[in-house]
């Protein structure tokens, strides 16, 4: 076993130093009836060549994106990832480090987190961002719980256009905390019913672009929140903020998001990257870690985790959240991505996405689909088809097109609807091919 370096001589000497005869003697405190008497019933050990072969075979049982063209999004996107990202995050100094509790030997990581916080806050146009959360869904749920604490109100309102999985996670977190969740409906793909809200709500949670790709009216959300004194919490796809006015510009109190589009592979949905940014007045209430700049005794500038008294290892049950390990390596991946793209790159990715999306709408509607909603969209749209979207998706898959997400499972009456995502990676030829095949299967 290459991972365990002990030679027989090592073991002998170590046991002699300890003063016992065998390794078994070190386990005397475990009651005998709790000790395993036989080897575990699990597969036999594999050598490295066998492991590679075994895992390769399992991986090939999947239909990955080398075999189909991806128009599936719904929160996870097939975006371009520069080679630099993988090169940086596979470095052992980052990959095999622990949380930077000892800042003197963690300056590299701490600085990248500071840079990450800065770039996310800039993207969302917010005062500050934390060092990351688990994923977009839990980030939204944490924001809602935070709002109930700040506002001392036990109810939250969430739009029906927020990603269904995010709403499910929100429901779970709120159930555990005894917080009531009300859902706002939608008209033509945009949140409706703000007028019905009253001062019992701690926050209103909206996503833009929504689950359906539609661009929500954040000014209307802000004035609704002002009227009832609730916090405005927005989930926003980071790529969209490369070109659209970010939620901070509309006065959002908290902005959360899924950072996967910023240089993280789809990876069957994990690991992901939760983004969390807010106004500075809430900094002492936020979950997760924050890195700040300071100096050492000689006046040299350096970085350290700060405002630690919010955290559970110090505050225990009074902590602002139970999150400690977050998604540092994914945050680093996105920091490399954001640095590589820079000011012009993110704009280009966002703009290409808009162009490709508009083109896809044009050719897919010409091929027999219909736009379900009339609102403006970014990167994604709902295409209504003449028959079951699930069966059309299956037929297109046989033609090498992963067409999108059939929405029947998510909303009643949308059995014929397909949620189609078009990233900057899709070419005109791929979009044309999708349209041609759609036309073919629709007969």
């Amino acid at each position: 076993m290459p991972y365990v370096p002990h030679t027989e001589a090592d073991v002998r000497e170590m046991l002699a130093t300890i003063g016992v005869d065998s390794i078994d003697d070190l386990f005397v405190e475990i009651p005998d009836d709790l000790k395993l008497k036989a080897p575990l019933n699990i597969p036999s050990s594999m050598d490295e060549a066998q492991l590679t072969k075994h895992l390769q075979a399992l991986s090939e049982k999947n239909v990955d994106l080398s075999r189909v063209t991806c128009f599936l999004g719904a929160g996870i996107y097939d975006r371009f990832i520069p080679a630099t990202v993988g090169a940086v995050i596979s470095r052992g100094e980052y990959l095999t480090a622990y949380t930077p509790y000892q800042p003197e030997v963690s300056q590299g990581y701490l600085q990248t987190i500071y840079e990450f916080q800065s770039m996310i806050a800039e993207l969302y146009d917010m005062d500050l961002a934390n060092a990351s959360m688990y994923d977009g869904a839990t980030s939204l749920a944490e924001a809602a719980i935070m709002a109930t604490g700040i506002k001392h109100r036990n109810k939250v309102a969430v739009s029906a256009t927020v990603h269904p999985h995010y709403r499910q996670v929100l429901e779970t977190y709120c159930w555990a905390m005894g917080v009531e969740v009300d859902t706002l409906g939608h008209v033509d793909g945009l949140t409706s019913g703000y007028d019905g809200l009253d001062e019992s709500y701690a926050c209103v949670l909206v996503q833009t672009p929504s689950f359906y790709g539609t661009i929500e009216d954040l000014a209307a959300l802000r004035s609704a929140c002002d009227r009832i004194g609730a916090m405005m919490i927005v989930a926003s796809d980071p790529t969209s903020c490369g070109i659209m006015p970010p939620p901070g510009q509309f006065g959002a109190d908290v902005v959360v998001g899924e950072g996967q589009p910023l240089g993280i592979p789809m990876g069957f949905g994990g690991p992901l990257l939760g983004l969390f940014a807010c106004k500075k007045e809430f900094v002492r209430n936020i979950p997760g870690r924050i890195v700040g700049r300071t100096t050492d005794a000689a006046g040299k500038s350096g970085f350290t985790m700060t405002l630690r008294t919010r955290e559970q290892d110090i505050r225990r049950e009074k902590a602002t959240s139970n999150i400690c390990t977050n998604e540092a390596l994914m945050a680093l991946a996105s920091t490399v991505y954001m640095s590589a793209l820079g000011k012009n790159g993110i704009r280009q990715v966002a703009e290409t996405t808009v162009r490709n999306t508009q083109y896809a709408i044009e050719v897919l509607t010409a091929a027999g689909g219909k736009l379900k909603f009339s609102a403006k969209v970014f990167g994604e749209f709902v295409l209504e088809l003449p028959r079951s979207a699930a069966s059309i998706q299956a037929e297109l898959l046989d033609h090498g097109v992963l067409a999108g997400l059939p929405l029947g499972e998510y909303e009643a009456g949308m059995e014929n609807c397909l949620l189609v995502a078009v990233t900057e990676k899709r070419t005109k030829a791929e979009i044309d091919d999708f349209a041609a095949k759609l036309k073919q299967v629709l007969g």
């Binding site: 990959l95 429901e171 049950e317």
Partner: protein, 496 residues
Amino acid sequence: MQRQTKSVPVPQLIFERSRPGRIGCSLPKADTPEVDLSKAIGQTRDEVKWPEVSELEVMRHFVNLSHLNYGIETGFYPLGSCTMKYNPRINEVTASMSGFRNLHPLQPDHTAEGALEVLLSVYEILEEVTGFDDITMQPVAGAHGEMTCLMLIKAYHESRGEGAMRTLVLVPDSAHGTNPASAARCGYDVKTIPTDADGNTDLEALKAALNESVAAFMVTNPSTLGLFEPNIQEVCKLVHAVGGQVFCDGANMNAMVGTTRPGDHGFDCMHLNLHKTFSTPHGGGGPGCGAIGLKRHLEPFLPAPALKRVDGKPVLDRHRPLSIGRVSSFYGQFLMAVRALTYLLAYGKEQMSHISRYSVLNANYVQARLREVLPQAHNRPCMHECVLTAQQYKKNGVRALDISKRLIDYGFHPPTNYFPLIVPECLMIEPTETEAKETLDAFCDALIAICHEANTNPDLLHEAPTTQVVGRLDEAKAVKLLDVKWQHAPETPATV
């Protein structure tokens, strides 16, 4: 007066490297027709002030920063309670296979059979290793796993009509801070149970605290004192007798792998940190991977969707009427499951117990070698980590933290300090099974030398570290400045 630190200049921020017009990657070119943006999306924004740097500058920036960071691959990392073992490189190779990496979580189930098989294989191996009936990996970190377990317990009590009466979670005074925090996030009140003089759960105090308001007792076994709880079966019986559930904090599972199974101890559920015990890399603070194990009676409440084997094939069960619901976006940290499976299969049934046996050997060796200078908090064989006290140096003004910082100058990552909270001037050392005797010897030699310095020249410790890019940082100033975001010069730090 602080001595000179390492002569490495403080690195520039990536923003300071920026020059207008540069870019660090080659993006896909748009070949679809241009559009009128205002018609397509409405209003557009001002520029995003991200840095403009060339591709080489990107690499240099992050590679040079990596040199200011300590990882397991750079040296010994004996951080107690964190299980900083070698992260095998083959795991990175398998996790980057296209069939895993380029897979969408919402693509049709039948096109992701290999991925579901990976998850289910991990579940099945972990069920056998832990002795639980079911595993799920939807929780994405250890604390998330703890919280999910408490949610299962809450749903279980509610299903029996006891939700309203069970309002209390008991937590030992030696517990990780995430335990009480997770209980609070499930709406529970928290009561602390003391540890007795031998380092075990104080049974009398536990009995006194037990009544029908108790929802759960959260036990770390081995405890954070590095000691196996010999009364664990009795502890579980006592809690069950009042209708409570017992949760096992699995942060210390490394001591038990292949030797004993928490599922056999009487626990109802547990969380595992795959990034500790099963070697998925810590990544500098995540991604974690918080699998949980549970007994049959908690199975109906599993997060949805649940993954089951039906007729030999993995199947996602989405119809879960009693489920607590979803706890994360998709199926958890899938690419971490690929790494964990690779690791579990590398050990296999023949060698799985090496993990516990050699990690316990290493910890006891360190404890024995240091007993003259840093005595153990409790005079018992330790498990996978030893908890030592530096109390005797306090008279020289030397604290545990000073010893830790001095270790940095000797080239080692410090152990965990001041935890568990109940041991004065605590150093918690977890060597793991992947460290060689000569590494442990070098580390112990360094600590012995440092303890000698603590008596002869304590200022060496107070001024440490002096070998890094910065010395000890002013944390109070960090809080006061709250400089958490780069701003264009001239800079006026935000005040809160």
